[in-house]
């Protein structure tokens, strides 16, 4: 792409300038080419090679997708092998050869460690030697001439290694840090350390040998100190000097020039890099009173602080240059930092700093400095040679990687451009804040984002070449017609200074007449001249003109009009973005516009058809998740309703990986970019089966481009909405590109798009590639065997009209019949226990708590089935126990009477309106609605075989609850026992006199007899009682869903009644709870229920009311006319016990 090669570092356009480069993608390691032209960044996605001399050109991407973060990357420092880069991939070290094509760049993989490698170091003398260290505690030295195994290994066994460094002078010496200690090794000495340096209080993060004094080494640690050692000194267990800082130190290294060092915090420390002089001359005088410091300890005294990153610095490097073959030391340096805030910054050094670290410039050198060829490895290499003999050169190892793919340069160029900021002034701080255009690159990125319909085919900032295509209203014949234009712009290097207007060239086009063309060119040149004469950037205006919009030639206007995109970022309007535009904006497919020149970008367009049309149309923000293609939903009856798409797996492979995190979308303030690692997690596996999925609906369109279009073609006449899907979908695709870099600038982009919606119109045709119809299938599978509950059991279980032990025995048989052994046994045991219970007399109750007693058994059984989630058994157990209550009541006359009465009471008609006058109005009206709807439902009963009776039974089912409410009301009275008395007395006058009095006086007060008479209390733990009610209610629901409404009514009739009765006797609190529970259910139902008068029973005799009746106008309780006469002759309160004085309230003849 780049035409002129700058092969001299002194022609570098960036050296000595501050530069900020935004590179998203979670890069964790950086290294620099010895010629100081390229830097390499490494992440889980692979390597980025960035040409610092042409930061506007997109990076070269060597893909190597791994789930492991790259711990270190090192560029070979040797002139002999300037193309070698080594990076870590968990326990392996990978040697990349950058002269090969990116798909084939892995030259060696060093596999000797058993756990993750933490550091790599090239031997400074021997080009083929390097050392690695690892969490597995080992340090290996490798000779790349025989890369199969390390030629030297050592380990201190105890703790994992964090760093390894070669001595700069003596190529046999290396140092490694393990935990708090540093070990010095000599290759000739085997694995006995030459020296062990102890003294740090916490683990050592970084070590570095001194370049000139070979036995000196510095170490930086988590304990916040930097220590300087001399391992040759007699007392090597003590450091020469300690410098104390306020932060744990991540990296600390000697300067490559002068006598200084730099340290960098792990956390805190203002995210800065600190530069110090080694021989801090003022130190002693500053701290005379500090006795400890006077010897060898001091505080950190930076001579310069490189401050400007918004998150911690990951690493720093020195970029240097010097003249060829010079005998004087004319090296110049520049600091390169890479931070977690995803920016790479270049910091020029002021001359004074060189002096401060005692760097004598232009000193006579004893030997020449090594010469490096000043070339970049940023360009993709097309190696026809290597691809032929792949077979033996390819590493046989099965990396989880997609590095075999061609075409690495699919990093979105516009996004890349928008991340580059450069400044001439030595004022980095201002640079990073001011939202002003500084150069052509920034201008192009700004307009690229502002004009989504303009396709940039080629952007080369360094050579000033821009090639773009767009549709403009330039047709002679029809002014409304948009014609396709291809425009080449040549921007002079001194643009936008006066007299350096860009040159425009419009490509020949059938639809464009010569006259029109020259008119346009004149106008463009005019615009260019006016703006550049004023020193302003003009491309935006030119594009406005080309798109047929009005361009102000008055510069005042245009200055007021913000050109810059950052402003837009603050005003993202999500509402605006998420609503679908219904304009007819459609797209132009640009296959036709791509001709076969050899530039990289059109190449990549061709090979990645889904990545074409960069910014060709508008974009919408939409967080709709990607639709599910299959699903499973339980049906009430225990069947599983599944649906699948039978779409082939292969169709999904195309899908892009795009992880849009919450933070991404939420960054509105774009000036401080979020440092989040976008590719964290373990998403990328690379294999076919576990390819990553898009998350957002629009993405699936881009992924399944062909498919979605196909459906457009096959199914759609009104294609408006679909087209707009398609178009913004494609945009997303373009922006997202492939797996790489989702820039945090996406919100910026969207802000701009939102603004420019509808500003440009173009015509288009959409083509469907194929007409494949998605197949799908719906299955209903029976999984009822998975459930503890069984409908057949539900059908056959005996619920009522038997003694409890008989019920249990019958149910045991039922369970056995269907093969439920466990349940059958449970019933059997219960049956036996119940039988024993029945036969035994007074003395038996005391044994109920015994592990062999019934109470214990019931409790344990409930516990067990609770765990099993067997609602059927839980409910049935409760039901049988409840029956026991009823049957136990049998022998005692009083209870018998009450029981028979109660069992008849079931279908009491009861109106909640009067019962619960406090009910809020909404509930009442809700009930009305329900009523009318159930009415309409009845009309549709033809479709559902048992609709009518189920509705009916639902109504019925609510009755027992009302009864509970009823009984509970009576408890408002002072004494429970007295109340029962009176109820019985009133309702069964025949028995009243002789029996009730007897019991209430003598027996009820007797604890033992009470227990005996209320066996349920013993069988059921009071705690379980209310649970039982819940279980029964649940099971009733289930029975209803199974289509067994009669069973349901039976169950509720028997159990709820008995238990509530028991509860009422047992505890007010619980009863209270139940009342309200049931209240809600009751309210919802009553209206529709009240409609059907036939259900009503007389409140006095509990028989069904037919014919003439008495209804209280206040409490709505009903009586047979005959009963009413009888009742009102004796009492003056409503027989239901509601407390209403009916005759006083209303005329009794109603």
């Amino acid at each position: 792409m780049s035409i002129h090669h700058k092969d001299n570092p002194y022609q570098s356009s960036t050296f000595g300038k501050s530069l900020s480069l935004k590179v998203d993608g979670g890069f964790n390691a950086i290294s620099i080419n010895p010629s100081a032209r390229d830097v390499v960044l490494a992440s889980r996605q692979g390597l980025y090679i960035i040409d610092l001399d042409d930061p506007f050109s997109p990076p070269r991407w060597l893909r190597h997708e791994t789930p492991w973060q790259v711990a270190d990357v090192q560029w070979s420092p040797h002139p002999a092998k300037p193309y070698w880069v080594v990076s870590t991939s968990n326990q392996k070290a990978i040697i990349w050869n950058l002269t090969r094509s990116s798909s084939n760049a892995i030259e060696y993989a060093l596999h000797g460690h058993s756990r993750a490698i933490t550091d790599i170091n090239f031997n400074p003398q021997e080009p083929d030697i390097l050392a690695t260290c690892s969490v597995d505690t080992y340090v290996h030295a490798w000779d790349l001439r025989s890369p199969k195994r390390p030629f030297y290994s050592t380990s201190p066994w105890r703790s994992s290694a964090s760093q390894v460094k070669w001595n700069f002078k003596d190529s046999n010496i290396l140092a490694s840090s393990h935990g708090n200690n540093i070990f010095i090794w000599d290759l000739r000495n085997g694995s006995t350390p030459l020296s062990k340096l102890e003294g740090h209080q916490s683990s050592v993060n970084s070590i570095d040998f001194n370049r000139s004094r070979s036995s000196e080494i510095m170490s930086s640690s988590n304990d916040g100190t930097v220590k300087f050692w001399d391992y040759n000194s007699s007392d090597n267990s003590k450091s020469n000097k300690t410098v104390q800082t306020d932060f744990p130190i991540w990296r600390g290294r000697y300067l490559p020039f002068g006598d200084g060092y730099c340290v960098m915090p792990m956390v805190g420390g203002d995210n800065s890099v600190y530069m110090m002089n080694l021989n801090c001359p003022t130190e002693e005088m500053d701290n005379p009173e500090n006795t400890r410091a006077s010897s060898n300890s001091s505080r950190l005294q930076p001579i310069y602080t490189f401050k400007g990153h918004s998150d911690r610095v990951i690493d720093f490097l020195w970029r240097s240059r010097h003249s060829y073959d010079t005998m004087v030391d004319d090296r110049e340096f520049e600091l390169v930092t890479w931070s977690k805030d995803c920016t790479l910054k270049l910091w020029p050094l002021a001359d004074i700093l060189y002096d401060k670290v005692n760097f004598e410039r232009n000193k006579r050198l004893e030997e020449k400095l090594p010469n490096y060829e000043y070339i970049t490895y940023n360009r993709e290499v097309l190696d026809s040679l290597n691809s032929n003999d792949n077979d033996y050169k390819r590493i046989k190892e099965n990396f989880v990687t997609t590095s075999g793919l061609k075409n690495m340069n699919n990093v979105n160029h516009l996004n890349w451009l928008s991340g580059v900021r450069m400044n001439d002034q030595h004022s980095p701080d201002n640079l990073f804040e001011q939202p002003k255009l500084h150069n052509l690159g920034e201008e192009v990125s700004a307009i690229g984002h502002q004009f989504p319909k303009v396709v940039f085919e080629k952007i080369s900032v360094s050579t000033g070449e821009i090639l773009l295509t767009l549709n403009g209203p330039w047709s002679e014949i029809n002014p409304d017609e948009y014609i396709f234009l291809r425009i080449e712009i040549q921007v002079p290097p001194k643009y936008p200074n006066k007299g350096h207007a860009p040159k425009f060239k419009i490509e020949e086009n059938n639809n464009l007449t010569d006259a029109k063309k020259s008119e346009m060119l004149n106008k463009l040149n005019e615009i260019g001249k006016i703006y550049t004469d004023a020193g302003l950037y003009c491309l935006e205006q030119c594009l406005h003109y080309l798109l047929g919009e009005k361009v102000s030639m008055d510069l005042e206007d245009s200055i007021n009009e913000p050109l810059f995109y950052l402003d837009g970022a603050d005003s993202i309007n999500f509402d605006n973005l998420s609503s679908l535009s219904d304009s007819n904006e459609t797209i132009e497919s640009i296959e036709s516009s791509l001709d076969s020149d050899n530039n990289i970008f059109s190449d990549s367009y061709r090979e990645h058809p889904e990545a074409r049309n960069t910014f060709g149309r508008n974009l919408e923000f939409d967080s709709t998740p990607v639709p599910n293609e299959c699903g499973a939903i339980w049906t009430p009856s225990g069947q599983l309703l599944c649906f699948f798409s039978s779409e082939k797996k292969s169709a999904k492979k195309v899908k892009n990986i795009f992880k849009l995190t919450k933070d991404n979308l939420m960054i509105k303030d774009d000036t401080i970019a979020d440092p989040r690692v976008l590719f964290d997690g373990d998403q990328v596996k690379g294999s076919d089966v576990t390819e990553n999925r898009p998350k957002i609906y629009v993405d699936t369109f881009s992924g399944n481009d062909a498919k979605s279009r196909a459906t457009d073609v096959t199914t759609d006449e009104e294609s408006d909405s679909d087209d707009s899907f398609g178009s913004f979908v494609d945009d997303w695709n373009d922006i997202v590109g492939n797996d790489i870099v989702v820039r945090t600038r996406i919100p910026t982009l969207m802000g701009n798009f939102a603004k420019s919606f509808g500003s440009v119109h173009s015509e288009s045709v959409k083509t469907g590639d194929s007409s494949k119809i998605t197949k799908n299938i719906i299955l209903i599978k029976d999984f009822s065997m998975l459930f503890q509950e069984d409908k057949r059991l539900g059908e056959e279980y005996v619920i009522t009209n038997k003694l409890a032990d008989e019920m249990a025995r019958l149910n045991a048989l039922v369970a056995e019949k269907y093969g439920y052994e466990e349940i059958s046994h449970c019933w059997q045991i219960l049956s036996d226990l119940l039988l024993a219970e029945r036969d035994q007399s007074f003395s038996s109750f005391t044994w109920n708590n015994n592990p062999l007693g019934i109470r214990w058994f019931v409790k344990e059984a409930l516990r067990f089935f609770e765990k099993e989630n067997n609602i059927q058994m839980l409910a049935m157990l409760c039901c049988v126990v409840a029956n026991l209550l009823l049957s136990k009541m049998g022998p005692a006359d009083v209870y018998n009477v009450e029981d028979s009465y109660k069992s008849l009471v079931t279908f009491e008609l009861y109106d909640e309106h009067s019962t619960w006058p406090n009910d809020d109005h909404s509930q009442l009206s809700g009930a009305n609605t329900i009523h009318s709807r159930s009415d309409s439902f009845a009309k549709s009963k033809l479709l559902n075989s048992y609709d009518t009776h189920s509705i009916r039974s639902d109504e019925i089912s609510s009755l027992p609850y009302q009864t509970i409410g009823n009984t509970r009301l009576s408890t408002g009275r002072p004494s429970q026992h007295r109340k029962r008395d009176s109820t019985i007395g009133i309702q069964t006058p025949v028995y009243r006199r002789d029996r009730v009095a007897e019991i209430s006086v003598e027996l009820i007060e007797d604890e033992i007899l009470e227990t005996f008479k209320n066996p349920v209390r013993d069988i059921l733990d009071p705690e379980d009682v209310k649970k039982c009610q819940l279980y029964i209610y649940q099971y009733a629901k289930l029975l209803f869903r199974w289509g067994l409404p009669y069973k349901r009514v039976e169950l509720l009739k028997v159990s709820i009644k008995a238990i509530s009765q028991h509860l009422q006797r047992d505890s007010f609190g619980v009863d209270d709870l139940n009342r309200v529970n049931n209240n809600t259910i009751e309210i919802k139902w009553v209206s529709s229920y009240a409609e059907d008068k036939a259900v009503g029973n007389c409140n006095y005799c509990n028989l069904k009311i037919t014919g003439s009746m008495y209804v209280c106008g206040s409490c709505q309780h009903m009586l047979h006319t005959r009963c009413a006469k009888e009742w009102w002759a004796m009492g003056n309160e409503c027989p239901s016990g509601c407390g209403c004085h009916c005759p006083n309230q209303y005329d009794r003849s109603s």
Binding site: S623, T711, R1041, T1080
Partner: protein, 299 residues
Amino acid sequence: MVSITNAHNDLIHDAVLDYYGKRLATCSSDKTIKIYEVDGENHRLIDTLVGHEGPVWRVDWAHPKFGSILASCSYDGKVIVWKEENGKWSQIATHAVHSASVNSVQWAPHEYGVMLLAASSDGKVSIIEFKEGRTSTPIVIDAHTIGVNSACWAPVCYEDVESDSSKPTKELRRFVTGGADNLVKIWKYDNDTQLYALEDTLNGHSDWVRDVAWSPSVLLRSYIASVSQDKTCVIWSQENNKGPWKKTEVQQEKFPDVLWRASWSLSGNILALSGGDNKVTLWKENLTGNWEPAGEVQQ
């Protein structure tokens, strides 16, 4: 086993049987809803409901006591309520308060009346109550930034105020939402203010939550299943409707692909999970409180 092939021209996103298991409603990317009559092994297409302008994500049958009513939600941002009268389906209500795709719709337990819960990618959930043929103003809640992917009602239950029996027990009306902020949130209805307030926020996923499902069976504890793009499924359980939610992962390792949908059986708490691998897995809690596989369905 009933099997219906190629019911729709595009992907199917939901299929629900009505209360009695007689009728099946399916919805699809082809913007239509189809109603089938299912009888034993046989099925018959009754009607195709056309009205949405985008893919239809979910459908839900109302309780039959309200009539033969179906709600559907779509990418077009609308919820449409359909009603069948005399064998003819018609739209009886359109609910369009959302500005982005409505991803889930569910009828409230019938005890609460005719009430719909809808969740949308515009970050909001809405509750619409239909009273006497008219619609009350919907309650709209900002639930999750970026987008709400699913919302589900809790079954009817009651606050336990055993300690103080003088106070009336309150109905505990709650629902759960899951969103693109990786969170699961529990919302509770306040009878006094008549509004829904955030009760709890559950943080357990590292990626978008795709579906939440509240177990319909009210036994000892409440269960919520949440499935996520992070390929995990978390079961949240709460004892006696109060106290903290306990997090249990269905399985320690991740699922092979993203999970899309969770569904609880009406009884027995068997969980059906479906996801990107076009597979359905069934899960069941064992006696020790862990979840173990109970079956698998593949196409």
